[in-house]
């Protein structure tokens, strides 16, 4: 199931990037046949390169990283919904609105920090065990949510 998602994502991304690549292609349309063939070859090569780089990107994009990113997107989305609700209904009680929005933004920020620390490519956090990073993340979230619940009123 997750494989299918990978390939779907890959296919969609490929489509997007080839559309971008095609913009360059259209500029050279007025040239001769030889150049067209050459361009098609180059285009295929660039497609291949972008494919390879995308595969590289996706492979290094571990499942845990996808989960964290989805969580960040979800948190920001929730914050936006709350802001939209506040715009509709009015800002009383302000402390509840503030604590709701800041809790979403807070967990998003903390998840991004976790992502930074867990990312294998990050040279600065080479010797940090991912369990330690996760424990820090949990501790910070505990403090954040304690404050949120106190402030929620």
């Amino acid at each position: 199931m997750s494989n299918k998602i990978y390939f779907l994502v890959l296919y969609v991304l490929n489509l997007i990037f080839t559309r971008v690549g095609k913009g360059e292609n259209e500029r050279n349309e007025s040239d001769e046949r030889k150049k067209e063939i050459l361009i098609k070859v180059i285009d295929k090569k660039s497609k291949l390169i972008t494919c390879v780089s995308l595969i590289h990107f996706v492979i290094s994009y571990v499942v845990s990283a996808i989960i964290i990113d989805l969580y960040v997107v979800f948190a920001v989305f929730t914050a936006l919904i709350q802001v939209a609700y506040m715009a509709l209904v009015g800002s009383f009680p302000f402390n509840s609105f503030l604590s709701g929005v800041l809790s979403c933004i807070g967990t998003a920020v903390l998840a991004v920090c976790l992502r930074i620390q867990v990312n294998k490519e990050n040279k600065e956090f080479k010797d940090l065990a991912p369990e330690r990073a996760f424990a820090d993340f949990v501790l910070c979230n505990l403090v954040l949510h304690l404050v949120i619940i106190n402030f929620l009123g």
Binding site: L98, V109, L110, I116, F125, D136, L139, C140, V143
Partner: protein
């Protein structure tokens, strides 16, 4: 910072490291003891008493907390001050100090050490100054290494500007707040250096403690975003910067909003907007760096334009919201106090109360030398030393000192914020100087012999330092290479020179002539000695006065003037519990704390109109003043008078503020009426308005009986009107040295004979005068 080399256990260098660490701890303990004991001069010279004015309020609040518990304290509405308005203590006080002292008292009492609340309050400040010097050690160790840390801690323990606000008995917010400030900065730098989310959490909690303690927390929440912006602009962005800053903003804003004094100001006032803007900027920058790492350059350009445009849109939205908020408030979102910091002339134009406080005036040049002494010219050396390897931490300290120098130039009270920065810089400078001199001495002494012991000696030095600076590790490597080959020194130097230019420079700096280094070392030690002498003198003579008890040396010995406490005790014993006492706002806190009577205005100065009412009453003639005070249910009026003994901070000297503040709200009080040739005079040249006003009469009533000539020792002249009677007030108490005089309002007359005549004859006149003077 370079990581600490962990030496092999059991080797000589491990022994040395261990010895160095033990020595460090011992030195730190001694520094703590020094910081505590240098602040005890006031207890030794006078007694263990709370000083000044503001600490009495804090003491009263702590008494209430210890008696009634935290729930009552949090919801306390105080009706014994600002009569008839009252004051919501829970919502207008910074609770950090009182909660800290209350906790200490509770803990000590629960383990059966029965210290009274007063003792705990008096000694809170020295204890926390010891903590503050330890926090300075930690902070400077993160910036430059533990040698600099020890020097900075020793300097902070003694620096006079910090002593002035944290002597034993000065139970004020700054006692705890400076410790919280330095500790928050330490945790921020630690997070920046290690990139650990754990320290980021601790940083937010320390920031919360700072917000609880002092209104100066806005300095932190503006300095840290400025530093982040500086790092981004100079190309020093790293993921550690993001981890250090972003959780602090979110958690910090929430925690700041938890404190009732701050409340929603944490998101609505201009003091915090810088942090939000930099929050957005750092997200944009972080996203740009992340995409740069994972995409090819072609895609990167496309993607970065996308991200930057989205970031600009969000930024624009937020700025639009901020501008709307700012434009809707007349001061642009800033509070009066912050605005007077940014625009030093603001307070004198618009808020005379802020302008009248002597602590809010700009400092004079000599006060810099008085308050930070030798550090004033060690600071530039420290700034240069911070640049020689510029790291995130050292750029932060440079920014800190630049900002604090600016703010200390605006308000003399903020010299206190300058003190830790100056100590850190000077500690760094001193430590580097000692490095160079002792290194060159050892090099010169070890240059004649070729033994390995000497070589090993040069890799460590007297003061316990970790091998944290890059230059020291270079020197260490160089020495190790020399030791390993056991050849002539010159030959070994050359291959060691190649790895880094820095070691070459350091080697050149090491090679100072022996005599010059020894003399320089001795001079530095003498400099330190002068600093210590000055600090002890300042602590003993200048900053230990409790100002509630005055002393003076004369031919007959020591005179003690305890008039204030005498009069407050008289008040508490000879008046009813519900009697209201009117005085100028300076004495409000002391009256409620010591005399336990309701006052009209006190040092909180939150209501300008109420203060102006009292000021108008003091500036009006007797009948008008009686009307004002009667409308406020006042029974007693308290006046401080220094003319008999020469006490300069009395109410006649403060009279110009009463006129100005009163005239600011009630236009019938005109300052020109009281001035003769632009000066306030009380002698025979004084204006009739001045000679008839209540303050003059209450201060100088029966003054002629003291020496027959009514010579005022403060104004150095005889007074104008000497023999007069009071019609609406009666004197009930004058203290021993005439410093405090208490008058009672005479009750209203039963039969009002003259008034009906006045009404019928001057109908038109009364309507005209009613418009001008609302009180008659």
């Amino acid at each position: 910072m370079a990581a600490l080399e962990s030496p092999q256990p059991g080797t000589t260098s491990a022994m040395r490291h261990a010895f160095g660490n033990v020595l460090s701890v011992l030195i730190l303990v001694l520094i703590g003891v020094l910081a505590f004991s240098i602040r005890l001069f006031s207890v030794i010279k006078y007694e263990s008493v709370i000083h000044e004015f503001d600490p009495y309020f804090n003491y009263r609040v702590t008494q209430f907390l210890s008696k009634n518990g935290i729930y009552e304290f949090w919801n306390w509405f105080d009706d014994r001050t600002w009569y008839p308005l009252g004051r919501v203590i829970g919502g207008t006080v910074y609770p950090g100090l009182t909660l800290t002292a209350g906790t200490i008292w509770w803990v000590l009492n629960s383990i059966n050490i029965p210290l009274s609340v007063e003792t705990v309050c008096v000694f809170t400040a020295p204890v926390f100054s010891a903590f503050a010097s330890w926090a300075t050690y930690l902070l400077t160790k993160e910036v430059k290494g533990s040698g600099a840390g020890l020097a900075a801690a020793a300097l902070l323990a003694m620096v006079p500007s910090y002593i002035s606000r944290s002597v034993a008995g000065s139970y004020d917010n700054e006692a705890v707040a400076i410790f919280a400030l330095i500790y928050t900065f330490y945790l921020y730098i630690k997070t920046l250096n290690t990139g650990s989310l754990f320290y980021a959490t601790l940083n937010a909690i320390a920031y919360f403690y700072m917000v609880c303690s002092w209104g100066g927390y806005t300095f932190i929440i503006n300095l840290i975003p400025m530093h982040v912006l500086l790092c981004i602009v100079t190309g020093r962005y790293s993921p550690r910067l993001y981890i250090a800053y972003a959780p602090l903003v979110v958690l910090g804003t929430l925690l700041a909003a938890l404190v009732p004094v701050v409340g929603f100001n944490a998101v609505l006032t201009s003091e915090h907007f810088a942090s939000f803007l930099v929050f957005i900027i750092i997200h944009v920058v972080a996203l740009v760096y992340y995409i740069k790492g994972i995409l090819s350059p072609k895609m990167f350009k496309v993607a970065v334009t996308l991200v930057v445009s989205i970031g600009l849109v969000v930024c624009f939205l937020v700025v639009a919201i901020l501008v709307a908020l700012v434009a809707s408030s007349p001061t642009g979102g800033w509070s009066g106090r912050s605005l007077s910091l940014l625009d030093p002339t603001y307070a004198s134009k618009y808020i005379p109360i802020i302008a009248s406080v002597s602590e809010h005036q700009p400092p004079t040049w000599p006060s810099y030398f008085m308050d930070i002494n030798v550090l004033a010219f060690l600071v530039p050396a420290g700034i240069i030393a911070c640049f020689s390897p510029l790291s995130d931490a050292s750029s932060f300290v440079v920014l800190y000192i630049v900002m604090s120098v600016y703010f200390s130039g605006v308000m003399v009270r903020l010299m206190l914020v300058l003190a830790p920065a100056a100590c850190i810089m000077s500690g760094i400078a001193l430590s580097q100087a000692f490095d160079v001199f002792t290194g060159s001495i050892k090099y010169q002494l070890g240059g004649s012999s070729n033994s390995t012991d000497d070589a090993e000696d040069t890799s460590t030095s007297n003061a316990p330092k970790d091998d944290a600076s890059a230059s020291k590790t270079d020197k260490g490597e160089e020495i190790v290479k020399e030791r390993s080959s056991k050849k002539g020194k010159k030959k070994e130097r050359e291959p060691a020179d190649k790895p880094s230019v820095k070691s070459k420079i350091k080697k050149k700096a090491l090679v100072l002539p022996l005599e010059a280094s020894i003399v320089a070392l001795l001079l530095l030690i003498m400099l330190g000695a002068f600093y210590v002498i000055h600090c002890v003198w300042a602590a003993a003579e200048a900053y230990s006065a409790p100002s509630i008890v005055l002393t003076s040396q004369s031919r007959d010995g020591l005179h003690v003037f305890d008039d204030f406490r005498e009069s407050y005790a008289w008040l508490s014993h000879n008046t009813d519990v519900d009697d209201k006492v009117a005085s100028w706002w300076d004495y409000g806190y002391q009256t409620t704390a010591m005399a336990n009577r309701t006052v009209i205005v006190d040092n909180n100065t939150w209501n300008n109109t109420h203060i102006a009412t009292v000021g108008t009453a003091m500036s009006s003639p007797e009948k008008a003043a009686w009307e004002i005070f009667n409308s406020l249910d006042v029974k007693y009026v308290l006046v401080v008078f220094g003319g008999l003994i020469g006490y300069p901070s009395d109410d006649i000297n403060k009279f110009l503020w009463m006129v100005r503040i009163g005239g600011g709200v009630f236009p019938h009080i005109k300052e020109a009426d009281y001035l003769r040739d632009g000066q306030y005079r009380i002698d025979s040249e004084a204006t009739p308005t001045m000679l008839n006003c209540l303050m003059y009469k209450l201060s100088y009533y029966r003054f002629v009986e003291t020496d027959g000539k009514a010579y005022d020792r403060v104004r150095r002249t005889e007074i104008g009107k000497k023999n007069f009677k009071l019609t609406h007030f009666e004197e009930v108490f004058t203290s021993h040295h005439w410093m405090v005089r208490i008058y009672k309002l005479k009750p209203a007359r039963n039969r009002i004979r003259g008034r009906s005549k006045k009404k019928t004859s001057s109908g038109s006149k009364s309507s005209k005068s009613a418009k001008k003077n609302p009180w008659v």
